[in-house]
């Protein structure tokens, strides 16, 4: 394979990034989570800008390594630079439609688009679609998630915080 034109290489990089999963939610890729802001390739140096979901997310280092491992072997790539940027801020609005579907199938409900921190929203159970759910804990097993309970099918589940 020859990757002479930079355009071609960037396309390939996005394809490969699609395979880098969120380490805490392995069904969804970082692209689907809306965490990849920019990926550029110039003279063999690939620069990837990542938007952290939560500032203190302990998975950030793992993501950085995964991106490195995925892109370093690409022919013509000499160096991979992964940086975390805060502008634009990641918000739950950035999750793609495919990403939203995958999250639900994993038992995590994404907030509706346009939802701001603190906005009330009707959380339907990801298993039985019932609206009869209650919030058990704003905080969950990961910084980005809350714990809920479905009064219909009696399953606990999670929802992403709207930020």
């Amino acid at each position: 394979m020859v990757h002479d034109t930079p355009v071609l290489q960037e396309e390939l990089i996005w394809q490969l990034l699609q395979e880098v999963k969120d380490p805490e939610i392995p069904v969804i890729s970082m692209i689907e989570m809306g965490m990849i802001h920019k990926a550029t390739a110039e003279n063999g140096v690939v620069a990837v800008e990542v938007l952290p979901t939560f500032v203190g997310c302990p998975a950030l280092d793992i993501m950085k390594n995964s991106i490195n491992e995925k892109l370093r072997p690409v022919a013509g790539v000499r160096e991979v630079q992964v940086s975390f940027v805060l502008q634009p801020a990641w918000t739950s609005d950035r999750i793609s439609d495919e990403g939203r579907e995958k999250l639900r199938s994993f038992g995590i409900v994404p907030p509706p688009r346009g939802c701001q921190p603190g906005d009330p929203w009707e959380v339907r159970c990801p298993y039985c679609d019932s609206p009869y759910t209650r919030l058990d804990n704003l905080f969950g097993p990961a910084a980005c998630r809350s714990i809920l309970y479905c009064k219909q099918c009696k399953n606990p589940f999670e929802a992403l915080k709207s930020i």
Binding site: F54, V55, G56, C57, P58, L86, Q87, A89, T91, P117, G118, D136, N137, L138, F139, G140, P141, A143, I147, K161, I163
Partner: protein, 277 residues
């Protein structure tokens, strides 16, 4: 106040040593407040009244540690030293957190007879939460652009902390006479320290002069308005004038409680600072 010029990068900031000095002071105050209070929150692990509270305090501590780490990294870019070393290798007199931040959770020790005071936790975190919200709002207008951006990001997370602490504040205020009495006693304790939170330390004049954040009076006034509303809606009497501790935490004077916290926090790191994690 409006004729400030914005500084876009650490490199640009470093061309003006006075600007950097003021900025570093402010960053240490904000970072150390979150860092030490995150540690106090983590000390509730296994001791909170309910497992849900355990999860909540752990999660909030993780967020706050994250905020502190981000600010230490900003300090590293400004030439203050390696971020990890700033967290773990400084001596207590280099810390700029307010004294109320380092106060222990109660009597006893985490590992030995911890008699922690939940009402004190709720009082302290609730009132700090109001302050941090106001500080972040003010920082969003900082002339140091990377800090303004970080403040915006932190606000979205902090929202959930405030919501949680205030839910508990309401719960204690509207519960049994015992709960209410404990909350009032805790508020009295917090009140004797709270005035220091608004102070900007020795570099106050240049911090404000460079447009890094609004002044002490402005911040404390905004805090007072927000807290008055919170007290009124929970039927809590306004305690009157607040106090300040004997030590000046914002100037590097601390109690032994800080030295102890830092030594526990950094025990492992100090064994081998070169280790890779």
């Amino acid at each position: 106040m409006s004729e400030h010029s914005y500084v876009e990068t650490a490199e640009e900031a470093r061309r003006n040593p006075e600007y950097v000095r003021a900025l570093q002071e402010l960053l240490f105050q904000a970072a150390d407040d979150d860092y030490i209070l995150a540690y106090r929150g983590a000390e509730w692990l296994g001791l909170a009244p309910h497992i849900e509270e355990d999860v909540a305090f752990s999660s909030m501590s993780q967020d706050m540690m994250g905020h502190a780490a981000m600010l230490y990294e900003m300090l590293e870019e400004l030439g203050a030293g390696k971020a990890d070393d700033l967290a773990h290798m400084r001596s207590p007199d280099a810390f700029r957190n307010a004294i109320i931040i380092e106060r222990p959770n109660g009597t006893g020790d985490y590992a030995d007879q911890p008699h922690y005071d939940w009402a004190y936790a709720i009082a302290r975190y609730s009132l700090y939460g109001v302050f941090k919200q106001i500080r972040l709002e003010a920082l969003a207008y900082s002339t140091y652009v990377p800090l303004a951006q970080a403040a915006g990001k932190m606000q979205r997370e902090h929202h959930y902390h405030v919501r949680y602490w205030h839910m508990w504040f309401k719960r204690l205020a509207s519960s049994t006479d015992d709960a209410r009495a404990r909350l009032n006693a805790a508020l009295e304790q917090v009140w004797s320290d709270i005035g220091e939170l608004f102070l900007l330390g020795r570099a106050s004049a240049s911090i404000v002069g460079f447009g890094l954040i609004a002044g002490e009076d402005d911040i404390s006034q905004r805090w007072m308005n927000a807290t008055r509303n919170m007290f009124a809606s929970n039927g809590i009497d306004w305690p009157g004038d607040w106090g300040v501790p004997v030590q000046k935490g914002r100037e590097g004077q601390h109690t032994d409680d800080l030295a102890q916290a830092v030594s526990t926090l950094s025990e492992v790191y100090r064994l081998d600072p070169a280790a890779s994690w």
